[in-house]
């Protein structure tokens, strides 16, 4: 059975473009142009993956993720945006999105990202991997939970390779580990990013603040 996918984007043109790209492989169970419709419909339809735009009126993608996760924590979100500003990326990931890709991604890459997210993995674009490395670059451990906040050197290796443009498969081969292990590392980085409350992250995001 093909995966149930729901699309949220306030740009009609983009929405129908993505729909056409994904229809061959996935079952598009619905689309919405605004935050409120999206939240109420997704709660009822219970799709596997929601592709959500970051910038929309009334709270944007973050509001959709938070509004749905409250009621249906199993729905997985992939953020899709023209903006890859650090602040947007971090806000979406912290709200609970399991991946972040920019709208310039090709159809194949997008389909791959949807599959990956539905399988419970995280999707990191090269740019996102770079952001995370940058954010965690300061070696100062946090007061509350130093273990949780640090990236292990293996996780950093994985992120560096992703940032260098390698696919997960190639990362696995370069590090002589299995793809599953690569996925585990990336998911654990995602969790750290979502749970992290270290000051550097906030300061770093605000330093790169993009209004």
């Amino acid at each position: 059975m093909s995966l149930k996918v729901y699309l949220v984007d306030d740009h009609q043109l983009f929405l129908s473009g993505v729909r056409t790209e994904l229809e061959a492989e996935f079952r598009i169970v619905g689309t919405a142009h605004d935050v409120d419709t999206a939240i109420s419909e997704i709660r009822g339809l219970n799709p596997d993956v929601v592709l959500v735009d970051v910038h929309m009126p009334d709270g944007g993608g973050v509001a959709v993720v938070e509004g749905v996760t409250e009621v249906a924590p199993d729905v997985k979100f992939l953020a899709l945006s023209v903006s890859d500003s650090a602040e947007d990326v971090i806000a979406m990931i912290r709200a609970g999105a399991r991946g972040y890709v920019t709208k310039t991604i090709d159809a194949e890459g997008l389909a791959d990202a949807v599959r990956r997210v539905s399988a419970g993995d995280a999707v990191f674009s090269p740019r996102l991997a770079g952001f995370v490395l940058d954010a965690f670059a300061g070696a100062i451990p946090s007061d509350e939970d130093p273990e949780l906040d640090q990236l292990t050197s293996r996780e950093k290796d994985v992120l560096r390779l992703i940032a260098r443009g390698f696919a997960y498969k190639q990362v696995a081969r370069k590090l002589e580990i299995s793809i599953k292990t690569v996925e585990t590392h990336v998911s654990s980085v995602l969790r750290k990013l979502q749970l992290s409350n270290r000051h550097e992250l906030a300061r770093w995001a605000s330093k790169r603040r993009i209004v």
């Binding site: 940058d134 940032a163 390698f166």
Partner: protein, 373 residues
């Protein structure tokens, strides 16, 4: 004017401030009643509240208020409470006359008198106001003239000047504030023109190029290029002027290669370092590596990754193209030796090329950061 009491009352009654002030001033001449009243009201804090909605009352209610005040004054006069009738009348005439003439919500008095659109009531109020003012000034003038024995002509001239100033004051003020608005509007227009000029030079040009271009790859490059340029313009510094950071220098180098060779280059940077010294060599070598990847690899995308590590600066130029045998002869002919290796080695760094036929190519460039000399 002093504590905003008059303004506060004016707001709650819905009458112009000037009239309330005039009433206080007139009452002040009756044994200082106005001053006492003002002070009491100040203490009970009936002063102006910024965001309170001014009350609006019917014109006949306003008229009622006016008659009430007049009645009160007359009653006090009848009871003989006026200490000095001339003073009360002078002050009242001056104060209310000024209030009528300077009512800021109406256009300038001269304009109002001549403007056919102005309602009769306003015109009557202007005439009465002017009359009261002149009467008040005359009484005041004669008293002052007697007391100080200054020439009546001098007093008259001074008072006329004052009268004109009071009468034309609001109009002059409005003219000045109009000028301010005009200046602000002009600034807005200049800003808009600047933005239009920028969009014209960049976005519109690119859109025109895209429309004329039949080649999808070329269109994609143009769109990509424009996107990153517009993003930089909207959200911060333009990377193309004054690249004083290594990351910005690398980004503009990548943009140039992308433009010249029509292959998208994905740039990711982590950390940063001032541009100059060893990083100049790094950027130059990275450009060369990007050109090689764009020209020879056949890959549809090239990645550039830069990281500022504690002791050194590292650049990876990666492609998923055809790759080559690093020990083969033709490898020597690609300008790698001269333009990449020698440059980096002069800067005290190292070059590593990882490639195999069919496996893509990765060029790793490392230079030490400048040490404190």
């Amino acid at each position: 004017m002093v504590a905003g009491v008059a303004g506060g009352i004016a707001d709650s009654l819905g009458v112009p401030d000037g009239y309330v002030r005039a009433a206080f001033l007139t009452l002040a001449t009756v044994w200082g009643l106005g001053v006492v009243l003002y002070a009491v009201l100040w203490i009970v804090r009936l002063d102006r509240v910024e965001d309170r909605e001014p009350a609006t009352i019917e014109p006949n209610q306003q008229l009622g208020l006016a008659f009430g005040f007049l009645g009160l004054m007359t009653l006090m006069a009848v009871l003989g409470w006026w200490p000095n009738p001339a003073l009360v009348l002078t002050a009242g005439g001056l104060a209310f006359g000024t209030a009528a003439l300077t009512d800021a919500s109406k256009p300038g008095p001269l304009a109002a008198l001549l403007d056919p659109n102005v309602e009769t009531a306003s015109r009557i109020r202007l005439v009465v106001g002017a009359g009261l003012l002149i009467a008040g000034l005359t009484m005041f003038g004669s008293t002052v003239g007697e007391v100080f024995e200054v020439g009546i002509v001098f007093t008259a001239v001074a008072l006329t000047g004052l009268g004109i100033f009071i009468a034309l004051g609001p109009w002059v003020r409005r003219l000045l504030s109009d000028l301010g608005e005009e200046r602000a509007e002009r600034a807005r227009q200049e800003e808009r023109a600047e933005m239009a000029a920028h969009l014209h030079d960049s976005v519109l040009q690119t859109l025109a190029l895209i429309q004329r271009s039949g080649d999808p790859a070329r269109m994609a490059i143009l769109a990509r290029h424009q996107e990153s340029e517009l993003r930089d313009w909207l959200y911060g510094s333009s990377p193309l002027d004054g690249a004083d950071l290594t990351s910005t220098a690398l980004k503009s180098a990548a943009a140039r290669v992308e433009e010249a060779h029509q292959v998208p280059i994905e740039v990711v940077t982590v950390g940063d370092h001032p541009f100059g010294g060893p990083s100049t060599a790094l950027v130059g070598a990275a450009s060369e590596a990007m050109v090689n990847a764009a020209k020879h690899s056949g890959a549809d995308q090239v990645s550039l990754y830069f990281e500022a590590e504690p002791a050194e600066l590292v650049v990876y130029v990666t492609d998923q193209g055809r790759g080559f045998d690093t020990s083969a002869e033709q490898f020597q002919g690609k300008g790698i030796d001269n333009s990449i290796k020698s440059r980096i080695e002069r800067a005290g760094g190292t070059v590593e090329i990882v490639s195999e036929p069919g496996e893509g190519t990765e060029v790793v460039l490392k230079v030490p950061k400048e040490t404190d000399k």
